[in-house]
């Protein structure tokens, strides 16, 4: 943009690393604001002297920016690139400004400054921790009609997107020797050491630039240059090495079993006009031989009254804003601390010309050198004092200071407070790796204790404070990791010289003076979820003794920042209230993700057409061309019906069924599973797998087979062809192919390993065209060579090999329609050509193509079952009327014992029968239930259900199959199907509705 740069009141000339030569603009709640390239939304807002950015979850209190990193609990904004690219709850401290970015505050109405929800803050005494468990119970129906909608509307933060996400995400699997999490001093030192020793290294950091604490700590000199410059040089050095991958803007979010670590890279969210080639985010799924955790530590806030007022920040964050972004957090900044780090921040601000009215230190005797330096800079230091309360509402305006041991209060006007309660080592990733933390009582912190995986922690996340010690520890870890992974390489040593950087002392966990037990003040522990010190004490008072209970009752640490600031404070307050030591109360579990992760990034490419593979038969396009409507069956698209001239499904199916029975129809049966079973023991193997006998099946013959699991229930069915003595062509149901092959392999490999049998899936190798109907032979005959198609030579349930349309075929005389029919197996690549040729002939003969719906009707007219429709995993072969398919003389087959269990041979089992609608016209609904007495009260005794039901154009009546208790003995009995608005009378019959004698099969 060419517009002149607007004034940014808090931007300090000469400070920071951003360039005024790169101006940008963005909007906040509709107002256009200037920024510099490299700003985060937070730094840009503060530069414009805006601290008030949102409202809290429960009390709707005005909130400002607290931190400069991913631990931010308050500054959550809606970020929008365009209407479809709206994202709620983005941390302003992480989101980089790009030209044109639109940011909106959340959880307020009608505006950020005047929020009606603020009434909650006024009535907050009513809204104590867990209050909702104690009320809203009367009247009984009012909870989900009245109270709950009210609560729901008040809760929530940003608004969910309402448009389909137009962005693209990417993912990549990566393997490396050493994965280093964190690009601060420790991570970079470890990376340099590991890389130098030949290890394949990945190093990642969540920030756009490496350096970690070097972003704010300008007192450090490494290898003769300022720390931040050293970090940039180290990063460049690493990036130039072939064995190193450097990932910025990349957060390690989850540490899973066996050194599997998930990283999220924000690829284009910082760009004003990202190239269409770029994904928004990229998921890295890294498997590392060794992980070096160098995730640093996070500064804690101080828990005092009204510590949530906008303008109150962490000290190191204020230092980041100044030293990296060139932004002062205020003009008149108070300091409240229990830790030395705040002094460094105060000095930097003071030296940048900011007024520091006082450093309030709860310690009686802080580091004398620091106190002396403060005094030398003209800063008043109040040791042994606390901030009893902050004044102001939409922006902090004063701090009320008093001696810790009691005494008069002094109100000091300020426009910002920076604070430090000490530092919490970031043990998140270590803990996620299932390592056990240990308590460092001297410094009141948890550090890595017992490791569970191949990883090591270095630097401040390991509780190492001294700069030289950090570097030594990191180099050692890097070198050791490299030699651990490549034991035969000789070790190369590196050295890094560092000066400056103080090991900051001092800590306060729990409530600060003035917010102790008994004080009725709002001293926030968890900002976003509005959990105060007194809420935690109330939880303990009400009997919640486990820290997990305290967390759940108060919601402490459950907000979007996942307790990065609040967990230790909450724990300390609970421990105090319980009268226990901290480690006795225990830490809550650290769970993935470390920071919230976009669903889309985890989904990556697995959406739309790539959500699951779509399987199409070789003839698919020809079917599309003749107008097929498709249905999903598993991953397959199957032709459902072929409407002509505006037919609906019903009309099309009627025509297809009629044409097939009276003339000829063709059907794409390619989706059926096919397994080639080969070997000298193949027949014996099938004899064990199927309930049917297979030993005596002749070469060139087909047999319908039933397969059970050991429990005796029907698992799958299909036709088996014996191609040769030692070769079978087995077919399975469409959905059953993989599990049938898996089951066969299981038995073959583990139970019958002595058998010489080989199994090969051939489902995709064969295209299958069923041609059925009285004219089927006439249709195919002209195209077939080398096979005698006569009824004598190729009777029903036999097969022969030859050619069709010049293509090799396994031609099977079989029928799933009850008509004379053929199933033509040809190599898949020829499927479409053969289909097209045959279809031309079929059409010329006034035949038709039929789809799965007509296939279902035609087979139901004959009472043939469909496994999964007429059986449901509780049906035995006997129940399905297929007792004939169970080899009575066999001494073993899968299911032989299960079938004999008491309940499977008991009387009264549901058996598959036919049903006639007595009115001759009502087509029953599949799934409808059957009763003997329709007038009985609910709950009714149901004796069965309708598994298949259709209008049969051929029989000119409705037909149905049903599983009914003792059905085989109920032939002719009148039963009832009670529907919502009527009762349909039915009569039990045999499940055959066309050609009961079966003569048509044999034409």
């Amino acid at each position: 943009m060419n517009a002149p740069v607007l004034i940014q009141p808090n931007r300090i000339a000469g400070k920071g690393r951003l360039s005024v030569a790169d101006p940008m603009r963005f909007t906040f709640d509709g107002k256009t604001l200037p920024a510099l390239k490299g700003d985060t939304v937070a730094s840009a807002l503060i530069a414009n002297d805006i601290h008030l950015v949102g409202r809290s979850f429960k009390y709707h209190r005005p909130r400002g920016i607290v931190s400069a990193g991913p631990e931010e609990p308050n500054a959550l904004l809606g970020i929008q690139r365009d209407v479809a690219r709206h994202t709620p709850n983005i941390r302003a401290t992480v989101q980089e400004v790009y030209d044109g970015l639109e940011a909106t505050s959340q959880n307020r109405w009608p505006s950020l400054k005047y929020d009606i929800g603020e009434i909650n803050d006024v009535v907050s005494p009513l809204l104590s921790a867990g209050f909702y468990y104690k009320t809203f119970m009367w009247p009984r129906k009012a909870w989900d009609k009245v109270y709950e909608p009210f609560i729901r509307n008040a809760a929530g933060l940003g608004k969910a997107p309402v448009h389909k996400d137009p962005d693209r995400y990417s993912s990549q699997h990566e393997h490396c020797d050493v994965l280093i999490l964190g690009g601060g001093v420790a991570g970079l030192s470890a990376a340099l050491a590991a890389a130098k020793n030949g290890a394949r290294v990945i190093i990642c950091d969540e920030q756009p630039t490496f350096g970690g604490a070097l972003h704010f700590d300008t007192d450090i000199v490494i290898d003769g240059m300022d720390g931040f410059s050293w970090a940039q040089q180290a990063m460049a050095k690493l990036a130039a090495m072939d064995n190193v991958r450097v990932l910025t803007r990349t957060t390690a979010f989850g540490y899973y079993a066996q050194n599997y670590v998930g990283l999220i890279e924000r690829v284009s969210e910082h760009l004003s006009a990202p190239s269409a080639d770029l994904p928004r985010e990229r998921l890295w799924e890294v498997r590392a031989k060794k992980v070096i955790i160098a995730t640093g530590s996070i500064e804690r806030h101080m828990v005092f009254a009204n510590n949530d007022r906008p303008g109150i920040l962490l000290a190191s964050s204020a230092r980041t804003y100044l030293n990296h972004y060139g932004v002062a957090v205020g003009k008149n900044v108070g300091v409240y601390t229990a830790n030395d780090s705040a002094y460094a921040a105060a000095f930097d601000l003071k030296e940048a010309g900011i007024n520091i009215p006082a450093i309030v230190d709860i310690r009686e005797h802080p580091n004398a050198e620091l106190v002396a330096k403060a005094k030398a800079l003209g800063i008043r230091v109040l040791t042994g004092h606390g901030v009893m309360a902050a004044g102001g509402k939409l922006r902090v305006s004063s701090m009320s200071v008093a001696p810790v041991n009691g005494g008069a209060r002094e109100v000091i006007p300020i426009d910002s407070i920076i604070m430090s309660g000490g530092w919490t080592p970031s043990v998140h990733m270590f803990s996620q790796s299932r390592g056990k933390v240990a308590y460092d009582a001297a410094k009141s912190r948890f550090v890595p204790g017992v490791y569970a995986q191949d990883c090591v922690s270095v630097g401040s996340c390991n509780g190492t404070d001294d700069l030289s010690a950090i570097i030594d520890e990191a180099i050692k870890a890097g070198e050791e990791a490299a030699t651990y992974v490549r034991p035969n390489t000789s070790q190369v040593s590196i050295s890094i010289e560092a000066n400056g950087g103080n090991a900051w002392e001092g800590t306060l966990i729990g409530a600060a003076p003035g917010a102790e037990a008994g004080k009725v003040v709002k001293a926030f522990v968890d900002f976003q979820n509005d959990v105060t010190a007194k809420d935690i004490r109330l939880a303990v008072q009400e009997g919640f003794q486990s820290i997990e209970h305290v967390k759940r009752f108060t919601t402490n640490g459950m907000a979007t920042d996942q307790g990065k600031l609040s967990n230790m404070h909450g724990l300390a307050i609970a421990a105090e209230a319980l009268g226990k030591e901290l480690p006795e109360v225990g830490l809550t579990t650290f769970r993935a993700p470390y920071t919230p992760i976009t669903f889309g990034a985890l989904v990556s490419h697995s959406k739309g057409a790539l959500f699951e593979p779509t399987r199409k038969t070789p003839m698919h396009e020809s079917e599309v061309a003749i107008g097929a409507v498709f249905e999903d069956v598993g991953n397959w698209k199957r032709a459902w019906y072929y409407p002509k001239g505006g037919e609906d499904m019903h009309a099309a199916v009627n025509r297809e069924c009629k044409t097939t029975r009276t003339n000829v129809g063709m059907f794409d049966a390619s989706t059926l599973g096919k397994i080639e079973v080969v070997g000298p023991d193949a027949a014996e193997f099938l004899n064990l797998i199927y309930t049917n006998p297979f030993l005596k099946l002749g070469v060139g013959k087909l047999r319908y087979g039933i397969m059970c699991r050991e429990d005796g229930f029907i698992y799958d069915d299909g036709v088996v062809a014996r191609i040769a003595e030692d070769r079978f062509h087995v077919t399975t149901t469409t959905g059953g192919a993989p599990r049938v092959l898996n089951m066969m392999e299981d038995y073959l490999q583990t139970e019958f390993p002595h058998m010489k049998v080989w199994l090969t899936s051939t489902s995709e190798q064969w295209a299958v065209i069923a041609v059925q109907g009285p004219k089927s032979r006439d249709i195919i005959a002209p195209f077939v060579d080398g096979i005698d198609l006569s009824a004598e030579a190729l009777p029903h349930m036999s097969m022969a090999e030859g050619t069709i349309c010049g293509v090799p075929t396994r031609l099977m005389r079989m029928s799933f329609t009850g008509e004379m029919g053929f199933e033509i197996n040809v190599p898949a690549d020829y499927g479409r050509a053969v289909w097209d040729t045959l279809y031309e002939a079929v059409e010329a003969a006034d035949g038709c193509a039929y789809g799965t719906e007509s296939m279902h009707v035609l087979r139901a007219e004959k009472g043939y079952i469909i496994v999964g429709q007429d059986t449901d995993g509780t049906v035995t072969p006997h129940d399905a009327g297929l007792d004939w398919a169970v080899g009575k003389k066999k001494t073993d087959f899968v299911g032989i014992r299960g079938l004999k269990r008491p309940d499977l041979v008991a009387s009264g089992r549901r058996q598959l029968v036919g049903l006639k609608s007595i009115d001759g016209r009502s087509v029953l609904e599949e799934g409808a239930q059957i009763v003997e007495d329709p007038n009985q009260p609910v709950p009714m005794k149901m004796i069965g259900w309708v598994s298949s039901s259709y209008w049969s154009e051929n029989a000119q009546k409705p037909i149905a199959m049903a599983l009914i208790e003792d059905g085989f003995n109920l032939m002719g009995k009148k039963l009832y199907v009670p529907m919502a608005n009527e009762v349909i009378e039915v009569e039990v019959c045999k499940a055959v509705f066309v050609d009961e004698e079966g003569g048509r099969l044999h034409g």
Binding site: S128, G156, A160, G543, D632, P939
Partner: protein
């Protein structure tokens, strides 16, 4: 027990909530009890509550190795429904729904039972057949369940994508309006408080390490990390750890324990009005009162007691969620976690006496036990008190795995063509 009410809250608000006492005591274990329940999850606590309330048996201890409600009770996605197919299941789960409807008042604890409706999506012809079978059976069993067209489903749940071009288009849905969600922690806490008020001892941080048996093989008590505690009857309600606990009494179980993961998104303003389940694409989602999308994943494939699972399982779940609800792609996962679910061969629970006299077991709830909590506790209390099953849980024996009389809801939805 100090009664909870809006009035009590208002009064306490005037005095900084100083008057609230402990919701339940944390007593030292006595030397013996009439009944010991192993496992202070929702089912175990409910059992203790109903033993006291319905059967006057108050000399009861509930032993918990960790913190009460810390297992699957506090880790599930809180879906409540009863539109099951078989009579046994419909009876059990509908019994639970009936109890849910008055539970807040009964316990004097707001468990936030919200009947926002549970909608199960059908994505293919087979789903339609299976769900319609459920709707018909439910109607005749007096269980609320209705069939919706895709347009009706969209009207009930506006974020739904019902476009015909979706990879798995929506072909309809079965809706149980009486179904919904409840606040899981409140269920455990409400039962704990109400049971404690009737004299039940809830003993946390008390791990059972052995089950003691007398001369006749009968149960005499349990060894724990806090010493031996005698008992006339012991009820094991240990969910994923049931096999492990039952092993202490030399009883092998028809169970396997699997990791089951779930996740929540960051909170957002109300955008999702009901519960949606899709078995075909494996997606289970609702929005909590806090505004988080609560999403259930599938189980990992291997048995485990680790309470963690693989990222790929979470990814598959989100694939499915974003497929049906493409608008959620920019939402963010806030927290994920795992539980251990104990699964029987027919995926239905066992609520029964065991071969060991005095030893009872309530287990095998798999991925869906939360919804049954009140019903489960109610009939299990009956089973323990009377040494005989309630009519509702008569079929839920261990013997069914010998006779073959299974209650196999999942098999009844068999996917095969």
């Amino acid at each position: 027990m100090r009664r909870f009410s809006g009035f009590a809250v208002a009064r306490e608000a005037m005095r900084a909530h100083k008057g609230w006492g402990q919701q339940w005591d944390n007593p030292e274990p006595k030397s013996s009890y009439d009944v010991i329940i192993i496992g202070a999850g929702g089912h175990g606590l409910a059992t203790a509550y109903y033993l006291a309330k319905e059967h006057g048996i108050t000399n009861v201890a509930v032993l918990e190795k960790g913190w009460l409600g810390g297992g699957n009770t506090g880790r599930n996605t809180t879906i409540i429904r009863s539109n099951y197919l078989f009579d046994e299941s419909a009876g059990l789960y509908n019994h639970a729904v009936n109890l849910w409807e008055g539970l807040s008042q009964d316990l004097n604890y707001n468990v936030m039972f919200s009947q926002r409706g549970v909608m199960m999506m059908a994505h293919n012809v087979h789903d339609v057949q299976v769900f319609k079978r459920h709707v018909h059976a439910n109607r005749l069993n007096g269980v609320d369940n209705e069939w919706l067209t895709p347009e009706q489903a969209k009207a009930y749940c506006p974020p739904l994508d019902i476009s015909k071009s979706a990879r798995y288009p929506v072909m309809g849905a079965a809706l149980q309006r009486k179904g919904g969600t409840a606040r899981h922690d409140a269920v455990a806490w409400g039962y704990a408080r109400a049971a404690a008020a009737r004299g039940v001892h809830i003993i946390q941080n008390c791990e059972v390490t052995g089950i003691k048996r007398g001369q006749g093989g009968e149960v005499t008590g349990v060894e724990t990390s806090r010493g031996f505690i005698g008992a006339k009857k012991v009820g094991v309600v240990a969910a994923g750890n049931t096999s492990h606990v039952m092993q202490m009494a030399d009883v092998q179980m028809p169970l396997e324990s699997f990791p089951l993961q779930a996740l929540v998104s960051e909170p957002v303003k109300p955008c999702f009005p009901c519960v949606v389940m899709s078995n075909t694409v494996h997606a289970y989602i609702s929005q909590s009162d806090k505004g988080e999308l609560v999403i259930g994943a599938g189980t990992d494939q291997y048995t485990s007691y680790s309470q963690t699972g693989g990222l790929h399982v979470i990814q598959h779940t989100l694939d499915a969620i974003c497929e049906i609800f493409p608008i959620f792609s920019r939402m963010k996962m806030l927290r994920s976690w795992g539980g251990i679910v104990d699964v029987t061969p027919d995926r239905s629970p066992i609520i029964a006496q065991t071969p060991v006299p005095g030893l009872y077991v309530n287990c095998g709830w798999g991925t869906g036990g939360f919804k049954a909590t009140p019903g489960s506790g109610h009939v299990f209390a009956h089973t323990i008190a009377k040494a005989a099953p309630h009519k509702i849980n008569e079929g839920y024996t261990m013997e069914r795995f010998t006779t073959g009389r299974l209650i196999d809801e999942a098999a009844a939805a068999a996917v095969s063509h």
